[in-house]
């Protein structure tokens, strides 16, 4: 039984990281209405920024913070200078998809140029695993889970109870109407991207710490599992996405524990494929399937 409990414990940690990435993607999609194939690179850039910072300071938390900021900056720059010009000019959705895919490759190449093709290692304080209830967690694991919970709560509070959050949700619902009501939609979109970067960056930082070593494909390898969580949870439903992220983390971990650890990802991919083929609007989405892509 402890195999199961251990697996669930791992799954909660990885699920927390997935949730972070999915929260970010959910926010991003709510304002752009198209998928971003370079989403993974927002995670990767935070990880590399952390790595770079490690030359300056040993404080992992400080390194992580810098990672978040760098990711936020990258997100902002990407939208402002790469995606937005295309969004305002083209009506074809596939063109935007290709642009995001191209951006992904550009970023991956940039990371490889700067940091090399080999795996880099992050100096992470070693901690012992101890039993927390039925689960076997290290202090690092607990910190990751804690950060994810905090991030979720902060996002929740900001979206629900602040005027920016209200404006953001209004823009996500109907940007034109929001503009008519006096919302500065361009600003709201910019700040949303900053939030996207922060959340994705946190996901990347925690992922890097959790993995210990990584290369320029860190975030890209995480892209599909993020899509999976977002589609399973329902496009446009952030809370569904968070739950889905947790579930996927747990399910894949458990499945991997009983079969082959290396096939973790395959289970997530399989789930994604099935959901897309059968019910693209998501498992939690009770409304009729959308006719437009992604909501």
């Amino acid at each position: 039984m402890s195999v199961l409990a251990d697996a669930v414990g791992f799954g909660i940690v990885s699920g927390a990281i997935i949730s972070l990435s999915t929260m970010a993607m959910s926010l991003q999609h709510s304002v752009t209405k198209h998928a971003n194939f370079s989403h993974g690179e927002l995670l990767t850039v935070a990880a590399y920024a952390m790595f770079a910072m490690q030359h300056l300071t040993d404080n992992v938390l400080l390194d992580g913070l810098v990672g978040l900021v760098v990711a936020a900056l990258l997100a902002l720059v990407l939208d402002e200078f790469v995606f937005k010009p295309f969004r305002t000019r083209t009506r074809r959705l596939v063109t935007l998809l290709v642009v995001t895919a191209a951006a992904s490759q550009v970023l991956q190449g940039t990371f490889a140029l700067i940091f090399g093709a080999n795996y880099v290692t992050l100096q992470v304080p070693t901690t012992h695993a101890k039993h927390v209830g039925p689960f076997l967690w290290t202090t690092t694991d607990e910190v990751v889970i804690g950060l994810a919970v905090i991030a979720f709560l902060v996002t929740h509070v900001v979206l629900r109870y602040t005027s920016f959050g209200r404006s953001q949700r209004a823009v996500a619902d109907d940007a034109d109407l929001a503009r008519v009501c006096g919302v500065n939609t361009s600003n709201v979109i910019r700040w949303t991207w900053i939030a996207v970067g922060l959340l994705a960056g946190l996901g990347g930082a925690t992922l890097a710490v959790y993995s210990g070593t990584f290369d320029n494909l860190l975030g890209f390898n995480f892209l599909l599992v993020t899509f999976a969580a977002m589609i399973v949870g329902g496009i446009g439903k952030m809370y569904g996405a968070v739950i889905a992220g947790l579930l996927i983390g747990i399910v894949t971990s458990v499945a991997g524990a009983y079969t082959n650890q290396g096939y973790n990802q395959l289970f997530a991919l399989g789930l994604l494929a099935i959901v897309v083929l059968i019910r693209p609007s998501g498992l939690f989405n009770t409304r009729a399937a959308d006719t437009r892509a992604f909501g």
Partner: protein, 255 residues
Amino acid sequence: MTPQMSDLSRTALRVENLSAGYRGDLVVHNVSLEIRPNEIGALVGPNGCGKSTLLKAISGVVTPASGTVTLGGDPARELTGLPPQELAGHGLGYVPQLANTFPSLTVLENLRVGLSRRAWRLARERRAEMFDLFPDLYASRARLARQLSGGQREMLALAIALIRKPTIILVDEPSAGLSPKFKDLIWEHLLRLRASGVALLVVEQDVSGIMEIADVAHLMVDGSIALSGTGRDLLQDRELASRYLGVDAVITEGD
């Protein structure tokens, strides 16, 4: 057919020789009309006659090709071609036919979108008035807009325009898609709005319904105003039906 052009300080909205269209094709030709404060103005006409486009041209969603739009008062303000987001500040509200609420926000949040904390505080009295006007909305104030019925959503849309203290609200087909019971409710609420001091210019498909309550009414055909008068008068006018339907036969009166 030119309405009496009164002094600008005594008018709510004046449209003069407005022409507008899409992609070079004019849909509205040289339309002039005037709405006075505390008046309900009705704009009816067959599909494609340009009435929606006229509203869009006044509210800035579509840039007029020529003509002027002036908001009355002291001082009067010319609004021609200003984008929609600026008009609310000047006192012109616009309620489009579709996509006029935020589905995933609550009623209260819908009202609050775009208002600064100060503006929201200042609008407290206004809100109380509004909830008096729309008690149904008050009861559902914590519900999400998409959970409201069609009629309630329409009222929410009106309320969103109302909370910004407009002098006049342009409303595009408020009764579209509503059951007769809700339609009557809408007419009732429009009257209450007028009583509370707001002028209205209402585009409608349901001719009889709006004509009963309109102080001034215009029939648009092919982009121009074909008939004008008070709502009641126009409703009795034998020409209304035949002009509207564009046929030569005159509707024999059953009443």
